[in-house]
């Protein structure tokens, strides 16, 4: 036999070899090739030759490098030297790559499976990292704390500070290097053509100092700028406002701007950042008055601990001051202090919980992908048992065989990671596009270095584990049988099928857990939307009219005039049924509250005063929003706040105060424990979930706007047709009545409901998609194992049929074999879901974590899908032709 060694390999080798030894080496190899060609044939000789290429190149180069024209060869050890190991790894990788190219369908499915697992992990991890794990954008964030008042006498552990108590703490504490307070408001910017509504954070000068932020331009608020009597008309712009409104112009610093008719001097610009810094458009001094209120809880307080001071020490220090204040002022009776670290500033507990649930879900998904891949590799490795037996028989050590197999799964892992990362980029984009709006720092989520590192780590680990399982299953004990019979009836094959069945059980169990989680969230979501909101949403539009806060009697009159004019003009429109305003923004989870008590009942204990939300409304609010007045009457234009005190209360509140009695005409103590105004109840209105749909209906006290100076005015308009079409008319009316007043937050009430459940929908959709992918992977596993096993049992099935088994016998046989691991998995999965779902309790609404219908539904879904996955192989089994099957044997 004569022939040339593979030309390409020769060319590569010629190029790689050192000059001095090139010809001799090539001649040596050529001769070896000729000898092998004669003995083993072209394929084997070609393969041998190619494999020598990297080996020769590296060995000879290394020999030259380590000295002399021909340095001493490394002392031969039983183990391979580093360079040889490297060479064999390269060879194995090449071998693996060839295998992948040969079996493209297998490779595609394996890579896709891994990519799904890895991609989902990378995407969710990048979100978790951005939202939960990244440190706060402030120096030494571990020294930052949040401080609350506690009032043991009223049973409050965390309350906002009153102004006077805050200032006393600020002055007297010895634990903080800086302490600050913040409260919120809004203001109209009138520099441009269209008036604009800006949110304002009123902060003490210590606030920004405690955070430790450095201005982008200009300066922060200076010491003393929060004292009455100094020039407090200064403003620090948020980075967002500076870039959007002022074109990031540095020369804005020092200029004056007209805000709500007053001129303010811009002294600096904040850096971007979450939290706090992005919470308002403008930061202005919270001015310390001469005689501050000790009774109204309004300020959020933060502080920076002095170096070395622990939270416990600070607590002891502040608690001492609190006791002192409590003994000094009767109104501060029972005052205490709560201090918490800044960990919770970015993500709320429920968001934290939701993200960890999602993170565990993608972890499960990766696990399922791993199991699936291990299963696939196991199937393939059983098919290639003869190859491995041959290699072992030729002297390959166990380690060597394992290395070859690992090289293959490593390649799969790397390919999977690559595809997975591409997918993750897309998924992160998608997640950001679906941003429900209340997940802080979500917009910053991206695939960065650490996400890449984690992904690659996950891929390597995955491929190592999945590759090891089949690699260790080389039948060393029974080489001869393996060589002779190859892939058929090898000892241990039954065990392999058993192992694969176990893997299927694991997959089914894991995906069932994910499905249960998704199912619970879906049911919670439905429950939130289906719950009785108490108010109507159809054909209703809401918008904010931002009238300047009344400063004096004249302003108040003007405010009320605009309110009633606007309402009257709107109601006069043919397409408007009703129009009204309310002081609390609907479904935002925030609002004003007060303690209350019935005057004709025993007073509640100080620490058990019930709490109600209070809102100001214009007459007709209940009609507009579709709530019935169940007793008494609505306000009229003659009702004025505090003149005399007359209120409408919600039905639950009435029942709580005067069970089975009429509430009308009763005396109600408002702001119990504080101002204690006594009001007459003139009406009882239906309950509303206007705070948060997932909350119990709020206890509410309604008071008329008229006569008061309440600024926020959230209008609700009930229209006969498409509500949004009304907005241009509203604008033109408003322009006539109050030319500089901006309109903002324009939504239909339906949209508002949608927004209020956006975070819930977000988590639900993510978990549901993950569960769907998990289900698909598990089904692929069920199908794969069963169809493989059927193909292996063709002869047996043929014999059974020859001996009289009916098609339905065969069907039952196959189905029962396929469903056994599924059922085991279902049982294990239900147990797992039972154990794990309680961690989701805080994310659920209207269902318990062990909701039986969800479990049953999910298990049924999985079982039906698994039967379908089993059906295809079973049908193949029934089609077995008796004669062919027997002849194969």
């Amino acid at each position: 036999m004569n022939g040339h060694p593979p030309r390409l390999a020769t060319t590569v080798l010629r190029w790689l070899l050192p000059d001095a030894l090139r010809d001799e080496a090539l001649d040596d190899l050529a001769e070896g090739y000729t000898l092998r060609l004669a003995r083993h044939g072209r394929r084997a000789a070609d393969r041998w030759y190619r494999r020598q290429v990297p080996m020769f190149a590296m060995r000879l180069r290394l020999a030259l490098l380590t000295g002399g024209p021909m340095s001493p060869p490394p002392v031969r050890q039983p183990a391979l030297t580093g360079s040889e190991q490297m060479t064999t790894i390269l060879a194995d990788l090449r071998y693996g790559a060839r295998g992948m190219m040969r079996n493209r369908a297998f490779t595609a499915i394996a890579v896709l499976t891994l990519a799904l697992g890895i991609g989902a992990n990378a995407a969710i991890f990048s979100v978790v990292r951005s939202v939960l794990l990244r440190p706060l954008p402030f120096p030494e964030p571990e020294r930052l704390v949040q401080v609350w008042e506690a009032r043991q006498d009223r049973g409050w552990t965390q309350s906002s500070f009153t102004h006077a108590n805050f200032w006393d703490m600020n002055d007297m504490n010895q634990s903080f290097s800086a302490m600050g307070a913040i409260t919120w408001g809004s203001i109209n910017l009138t520099t441009n053509d269209a008036p604009e509504r800006l949110s304002v954070a009123y902060v003490t000068t210590g606030f920004l100092r405690a955070l430790g932020v450095t201005p982008v331009a200009g300066r922060m608020l200076a010491d003393g700028e929060d004292r009455a009597g100094t020039d407090t008309r200064v403003a620090v712009l948020s980075h967002r406002l500076w870039t959007t409104q002022f074109g990031a112009d540095r020369s804005i610093v020092g200029r004056t701007t007209a805000l709500s008719g007053q001129s303010y001097r811009v002294v600096g610009v904040l850096p971007p950042g979450t939290p706090w810094l992005d919470a308002a458009d403008v930061f202005m001094p919270l001015v310390r008055g001469p005689d501050e209120d000790r009774d109204s809880f309004e300020l959020t307080a933060i502080a920076r601990l002095k170096p070395g001071v622990t939270i416990q020490a600070a607590h002891a220090d502040l608690d001492r001051i609190a006791k002192q204040l409590a003994s000094q002022y009767p109104v501060a009776k029972g005052m205490g202090i709560t201090i918490e670290p800044s960990d919770g500033w970015v993500a709320s507990d429920s968001l934290r919980r939701a993200l960890w649930v999602l993170m565990s879900a993608v972890g499960f998904l990766l696990l399922i992908a791993c199991v699936n891949l291990a299963n696939m590799l196991l199937a393939r490795s059983t098919g290639r048992v003869r190859e491995r037996a041959l290699r072992a028989a030729l002297g390959a050590t166990r380690g060597r065989v394992v290395q070859t197999m690992l090289a293959e799964s490593l390649l799969l892992g790397v390919a999977g990671a690559a595809v997975g990362l591409v997918m993750a980029f897309g998924v992160v984009k998608l997640i950001r596009a679906f941003d429900p709006g209340d997940i802080p720092r979500l917009a910053d989520a991206s695939i960065d270095g650490s996400v890449l590192a984690i992904t690659l780590g996950a891929a390597l680990l995955t491929s190592l584990i999945t590759g090891l399982v089949p690699a260790l299953r080389t039948p060393y004990r029974d080489l001869v049988a393996a060589l002779r019979e190859g892939e058929r009836s090898v000892a241990g094959d039954r065990r392999t099928i058993g192992l694969r069945g176990a893997l299927v059980s694991v997959e089914v169990a894991l995906s069932l857990i994910l499905l249960v989680g998704a199912g619970l969230l879906i049911r919670s979501f439905e429950a939130v939307l289906e719950i009785d909101r108490g108010f109507a949403t159809a054909n209703r539009v809401v918008f904010d009219v931002n009238l300047p806060g009344p400063q004096n009697e004249g302003d108040t009159q003007r405010f009320n005039a605009v309110m009633s004019q606007l309402t009257t003009r709107l109601e006069a429109l043919p397409q408007v049924e009703d129009a009204a305003a309310v002081s609390m923004a609907l479904l935002r989870g925030t609002g004003t509250g007060m303690g209350f008590a019935a005057q004709d009942k025993p007073a509640p204990a100080d620490n058990a005063v019930p709490w109600a939300g209070w809102r100001m409304i214009t007459p007709g609010y209940f009609r507009t929003i579709g709530v019935r007045i169940v007793a008494g009457r609505d306000f009229t234009d003659q009702d004025r706040i505090g003149d005399p005190w007359r209120v409408i209360i919600s039905r639950r509140m009435a029942q709580q105060l005067w069970p089975n009695e009429s509430a009308i005409g009763r005396q109600l103590i408002l702001w119990k424990g504080q101002r204690e105004n006594v009001a007459e109840v003139i009406g009882v209105a239906g309950d509303m979930r206007d705070w948060d749909l997932a909350d119990t209906p709020t206890l509410a006290v309604y008071m008329p706007y008229r006569g008061g100076g309440m600024t926020p005015a959230h209008f609700v308009v009930h229209t006969t047709s498409a509500p949004m079409a009304l907005i241009p008319t509203v604008r033109s009316i408003l322009r006539e009545i109050a030319p500089t007043t901006p309109l903002s937050n324009i939504r239909t009430l339906d949209e508002l409901v949608g927004e209020s459940v956006a975070a819930r929908r977000f988590t639900m959709l993510l978990l549901a998609s993950l569960a769907a992918v998990a289900l698909l992977l598990a089904l692929a596993g069920v199908y794969g194992v069963l169809s493989y096993s059927v193909s292996r049992r063709r002869t047996e099935i043929g014999m059974r049929m020859a001996l009289g088994a009916s098609r339905s016998n065969v069907m039952r046989l196959v189905l029962s074999q396929g469903m056994r691991p599924v059922i085991i998995g279902l049982v294990a999965g239900i147990a797992g879901a039972f154990a794990l779902s309680r961690y989701m309790t805080s994310l659920l609404f209207g269902v318990t974590p062990v909701d039986a219908p969800t479990y049953a539904g999910v298990a049924a879904l999985l079982a039906v899908a698994a039967v379908l996955a089993c059906y295809l192989p079973a049908r193949d089994a029934m089609k077995v032709d008796v004669l062919t099957a027997l002849r194969e044997e």
Partner: protein, 109 residues
Amino acid sequence: MSRTALGEFEHHVMLALVRLGGRSRGAPIVLELETATGRTVSPAAVFVSLRRLEQRGYARSSKREARPGEGGRGSREFQITTAGKTKLAESRRTFERLWRGADPVAEPS
């Protein structure tokens, strides 16, 4: 001349050279080793090893013109030297001394 003992692989290569009549090119040595040991043998290792043996004086080589049918432009042919033979005999004696008395323990029954 180096006093260091032969490495295991060098030992094998020299023995293969002897079995092939004391003179051979690299490729047949590779085959001989594979047949005798049942392991895959890297021709690169043999290539390097032969030249190393030559450096140590245990082998010498000559370049031969190519002959038709054998391919190549003339491989290098190696021949064991007297020093090589002495070294082999020496290491054989060492091994035999060491083996004496070790058999009952070392031979698997």
